[in-house]
């Protein structure tokens, strides 16, 4: 089995990659939506979102909707760039030429 320690460690984690992959195609999403789509627990998701935010890959906005707190997440320009790089690196690793080595 091939392992990919060289890939961006921020993105090379199941949940963080899922969050970024979800956000890359949309303008913004609520925390609850991301939790529903990824099937993650609120605690785990919260930790991973904080890591992505600290890395500058996503932006987190906190608001109130009908008197309830609402957390909105959106991908940043850096996040999009890192995601593209990650996908390109992944393609290189998965290409037959690379795998044959």
């Amino acid at each position: 089995m091939t392992r990919f320690k060289e890939l961006d460690p921020i993105l090379h984690s199941q949940l963080r990659l899922a969050v970024i992959s979800l956000l890359v195609g949309i303008e913004m999403a609520e925390f609850t939506y991301i939790r529903e789509q990824t099937g993650a627990t609120a605690g785990n998701l919260s930790i991973q979102i904080t890591k992505l935010k600290e890395a500058g890959y996503i932006e987190v906005t906190k608001k109130f909707k009908n008197n309830y707190p609402q957390t909105l997440c959106s991908i940043t320009k850096l996040g999009k760039q890192k995601f593209t790089e990650y996908v390109n690196d992944l393609k290189d690793y998965l290409s037959p030429k690379q795998n044959a080595k």
Binding site: M1, F4, Q14, L17, A18, S21, L22, A29, N44, N66
Partner: protein
């Protein structure tokens, strides 16, 4: 989602990326409400206008078109409520919304320009309405809506040459072909959750 620090293979990474990207496609169900609502409203107005002109002596049959005004408010209220409930905003959804907003603005401008001859506005409205219908069909990859947009343009041309007495009837047919049939097909689509 499992432990975040678990090492992944390339195949697993690709699977996660594909799975998540597929989940973020525009929810087309919200589009079917507007198609059916406006389809029925304009269908009823245009057919009533046609029947009143044809079979009665009512002085101002076009007054039925004032139903459009509460229609705009109902539409805005629905849009506001669904916008509040929405947990996600997609690029396609935003594009879809602004295309229709653009049509609403263009139609309002047209009504102002043509305010003295509202009886002649139908072919131009159909011409305008064809564009957002056609583009929306491409956004949600739904052929009946694309064909609906084309029907609007064909009927705009048809009623323009057929003359004003056919305007209302042509508009009613356009509503059937461009909004109501695609709207019901969209609503009853087999894979109804996400497309």
């Amino acid at each position: 989602m499992e432990n975040e620090e678990k090492m992944m293979t390339g195949e697993e990474s690709l699977r996660i990326i594909t799975e998540m990207i597929n989940k973020t496609k525009f929810d087309i169900r919200q589009g079917s409400f507007y198609l059916l609502f406006w389809g029925w409203l304009i269908f009823v107005c245009s057919l009533s206008d046609y029947l009143l002109q044809k079979f009665t002596d009512i002085a101002h049959p076009y007054y039925v078109w004032f139903l459009i005004i509460p229609g705009v408010f109902v539409s805005m209220f629905y849009g506001f409520k669904t916008g509040q409930k929405a947990k996600v905003r997609t690029y396609a959804g935003t594009l879809y919304m602004w295309i229709w907003m653009g049509f609403l603005i263009a139609a309002t401008v047209l009504f102002i320009i043509q305010s003295k001859r509202m009886d002649l506005v139908s072919p131009y409205i159909l011409l305008l309405a064809g564009l957002p219908t056609f583009i929306s069909g491409f956004i949600i990859k739904f052929r009946p809506l694309i064909l609906g947009g084309i029907c609007f343009w064909i009927l705009a041309l048809g009623i323009y040459f057929a003359g004003p007495s056919f305007y209302s009837l042509g508009t009613a047919i356009a509503m059937l072909a461009g909004y109501l049939i695609p709207g019901y097909m969209l609503k009853n689509r087999v894979d109804h959750d996400k497309v």
